[in-house]
Subunit: 566 residues, 2 copies
């Protein structure tokens, strides 16, 4: 393509409302423009990247046995009422009326539409399994759209849905999708992790999020430094073992700890390690109250408390409830002398404490020489704390590190959540009616574009990996008014194009400095500068990512460039 005909308005200034690098650079390099809060136009260069990502996704979906279809954005409210989400989705679901006052949702996702479609057409186990996907525009009225394409209100998504007559079949397709998703993100050049996520009521290993590692990520990932284990920090299982000291138990003693509230204050006051302190917290688990104990340097993970009880809601008890139940405030809580009605559960680490300390349920006092089992009874020891950096990885390989991530993909075993609500059934081998078993699998396509930009940039602009770059090669004659430069540049442009290399020719009558600055902003992997040595048939080839450049004879250019791109 000739740059003189391209619409890629670049900006020298950093747009004031763009907080993160990807947002700033995609605007500055003319890859996109904002139309309204969270709503963007992809300009030609941005669309090219988007289409390359789409292409990779299509290939991987086809390889995974998924077939592409295209469902509408306008979805009748009745479908969402059947699934119940019309009422539960909240204001993120955009709604409207047609000219006959019929209610519609603007598709935020397509579980309802696909379930209705398959329900009407698939009646027998013989037609299963079935996996369908689409690449389509989604609408979600985010409360705080931000970071450009990373959290928008209208965005492009790949969503896939699978239908099964058995859990085994779902597992099989789920695993294929796991591979396909890994391939997509790897081929996009991204540094990512597939992390175990919270499957809620479904439980088990029924869901993974694909996280692009980034300092601006909104989720914390716990990952192994040597294996591919990764989980959302809430979900990571702790398998640490705790050595119990052989020290003899001493006599329990109540000591005054005036004005010492937090664990570190108390530990310092008592001249103890935080690891010997017992932290006590009261949680409301659905409609009962539970006292949860962890070691002083650990944090209670309420998701684990919730999963232990299979509860719907777990939250910290209110100060009023704590006062009523324990007759004291948060800072003085402890497990000794607690009414039998309040169940005590503890993290495994607590069992290893010898001669520790805990609150005395009395303002300004703590117990020391506390020994679990002797001084109080724990009804159940379990993994109840957040994993920490340095903990052993739950898969037995390496130790845990933390990173921040941007969620770019999510695969999920839905089970019969939608098929039961919407009466989507099939006849099994015995002629018996069964609800369809479903999986769903999403990738934020436009979010992936931003995530790549976020991972690949430097102070001069973007640095696209070859597989998703808008062009592979940027040919720049230093001075288009010089016949020989213009002609050689044209020749290189034409011959590279003919050989199947996506090439952009900067044929604009601009100063060299402007052209180089634009080129750096665009982030095309290889730049071919046609300057004074063009007379001798020599041009400069520069690799955008490394900054390395070399003089190359035009005759050997194609080979030289394909080597770089591979």
């Amino acid at each position: 393509m000739r740059q003189s005909m391209m619409f890629s308005p670049t900006l020298r200034e950093v747009p004031s409302d763009a907080e993160v690098r990807s947002h700033q650079l995609l605007l500055r390099a003319g890859f996109m423009r904002q139309n309204a809060s969270g709503i963007y136009s992809f300009l030609p260069l941005g669309l090219k990247v988007l289409q390359k990502v789409e292409g990779i996704i299509r290939e991987e979906m086809e390889n995974a046995g998924a077939m592409e279809l295209l469902m509408p954005a306008l979805q009748p409210a009745e479908l969402w009422q059947e699934s119940g989400r019309w009422y539960s989705y909240g204001p993120e679901l955009m709604r409207m009326n047609d000219r006959h006052s019929r209610e519609f949702a603007l598709g935020a996702t397509h579980e309802e539409v696909i379930t209705a479609l398959v329900r009407d057409e698939v009646k027998s186990y013989k037609k299963l399994p079935l996996t369908l996907y689409q690449i389509q525009t989604k609408f979600r009225d985010e409360k705080r759209p931000r970071f450009g394409l990373l959290r928008g209100r209208e965005f492009l998504m790949k969503d896939a849905y699978s239908f099964h007559s058995s859990r085994e079949s779902l597992d099989e397709v789920y695993n294929k999708m796991y591979e396909a998703y890994s391939n997509v993100f790897r081929r996009c050049g991204l540094n990512f992790r597939a992390v175990i996520a919270d499957a809620g009521a479904i439980g088990g290993k029924g869901t993974h999020e694909f996280m692009i590692l980034s300092d601006i990520g909104e989720d914390t990932i716990a990952y192994s430094d040597t294996s591919d284990y990764a989980a959302n920090v809430e979900m990571a299982e702790v398998v640490a073992t705790y050595e119990k000291s052989s020290e003899a138990m001493k006599e329990l003693e109540k000591v005054a700890t005036p004005n010492q509230k937090s664990i570190d204050e108390v530990a310092a006051f008592l001249q103890m390690e935080e690891t010997s302190c017992i932290k006590s917290m009261v949680f409301q688990v659905d409609d009962k109250f539970v006292l949860v104990l962890v070691r002083g340097n650990h944090e209670v993970n309420d998701v684990k408390v919730k999963n232990l009880y299979g509860a719907s809601v777990v939250e910290l008890a209110s100060p009023e409830d704590v006062q009523r139940l324990m007759n004291c405030t948060f800072g003085s809580l402890g497990p000794i002398g607690v009414s039998d009605e309040l169940e005590i559960i503890a993290d495994h680490a607590v069992a290893a404490i010898v001669n520790g300390s805990c609150g005395a349920n009395e303002e300004g006092y703590h117990y020391v020489n506390v020994n679990p089992g002797r001084d109080f009874t724990v009804s159940q020891y379990a993994d109840l704390r957040f994993i920490e950096e340095g903990d052993p990885s739950p898969d037995g390989q390496g130790t845990i590190k933390f990173a921040l991530g941007i969620e770019a993909g999510h695969i999920f075993k839905l089970g019969t959540r939608y098929s039961e609500a919407m009466d989507a059934t099939y006849l099994d081998e015995n002629g018996k009616t069964q609800p369809l078993i479903m999986g769903c699998y999403g990738i934020g396509v436009s979010r992936v574009v931003a995530a790549i930009a976020e991972q690949f940039n430097d102070e001069s602009g973007l640095l696209w990996p070859s597989a998703v770059a808008p062009f592979h090669v940027h040919v720049i004659p230093v001075n288009v008014k010089t016949d020989i430069q213009r002609e050689k540049a044209e020749y290189i442009y034409q011959s590279l194009k003919k050989q199947g290399i996506d090439t952009l020719l900067d044929d604009r009558p601009e100063r060299a400095g402007v052209k180089f600055a634009d080129s750096d902003l665009f982030g095309i992997p290889v730049r071919v500068t046609v300057g004074k040595k063009a007379e001798e048939g020599i041009v400069e080839v520069k690799v955008r990512a490394t900054g390395e450049s070399e003089e190359v004879h035009i005759e050997g250019l194609y080979e030289y460039i394909t080597n770089i791109l591979q």
Copy 2:
């Protein structure tokens, strides 16, 4: 692709709510399903056709120098208020509020968005001309959605917009687009005409519609039987010459014509040819009244009356107005003795009438031996009638025939309609601010799919032209339980695929009759049946469109098939 994994549910029955062939067959062959009135899902086969049409359009747009971008569906109301269309578009424009009660339109078209985008980025004549296009989902709340994809409420459109600093530049791009559109429809295999359409206030040859010829078309096209001249019937210029008889003028006479109202009644009663009768009609042209005369066998074309006066509104006068102005009813109108205040204009054919007849402006009476010029004064003779079949073509080649057409494309010289309203200007060579000159160019992509289906079908199903067929070849083993048939079919499938031919393998354990019926419905151009002679390496190749079949040896299959497909 393997049919066992494909989602293409076929129907044996004709869906009761589908009126036209394309709608019936696209449903029956499992190319699409309805989600709501005028809203459809494209199933895998339908999407494949849609994507092939998209591919052709992209190629032709790139060749025409247009660059692809992607604009959003959600459009702030403010933009539509700037152009004024927020108020004038009516209920076809779908509107909604976001969670902050801000108003949005769901894009019915993108003139406002693109004008705002280019306005903010293009400031100088040096950046012009610029042509941008997108392939994107549009929303229009049709009052009566019908004919499936032909008139839907959510549909896929290619819309392009060009920006210029001169009319000449607009003309140049307009002509390129005319060529590109012709190429698109020709490559889709369609029988179409580029017709001159009504450009409204812009006038001249500023707009063409691309009409797919079809009996279910809603527009009448007048076209030449020997040249490529075509126009909307309202727009076709009449260049007929009328020979004036040399008969001597007779004396004007008023005769009683009791109860004879229509032209044919009067002509029969008076024993005259209709061609000698003068038909008189009163029109309101903006705020004045005009008496329009045409020959008895002709019809007044109000668009021509409108264009003659450059008027905004032209409509037939009300009975009350006629009574007040002429003191009679419609059936007795005539030009003789009319007040000077009422201007009389006439079609050229009227000038050639000698000793004709007309109404006497008196119930039950007509004049005979009427001679224009002698008996009444015509202020202006002009082309005021509808063209008719048999008229000479206005380009001087051949005679006019009529056909019905489906509008599938429209190219339009917008001029400064949007740039002036939205203050989209550039600086010209002299540093003077000028409004951008614009063109817009649309193709109904999903409508094209339906139009192809409407032109290419028979009683057994669809008949896709190769360029847009979902697959090129359908391989069908008669009995998949026979090892040799299954294996040979698999071999053919794999080798054709490897050679770049889109191939579908019917690997389902269905009866041969079911498979053949589905295959005919799908309309894949070439069918390869692997039957008993597979043992000898012989298969049957059938051309779907002609029904011709031949036995071919597997070794020569690729060559045989590529010959057919070309």
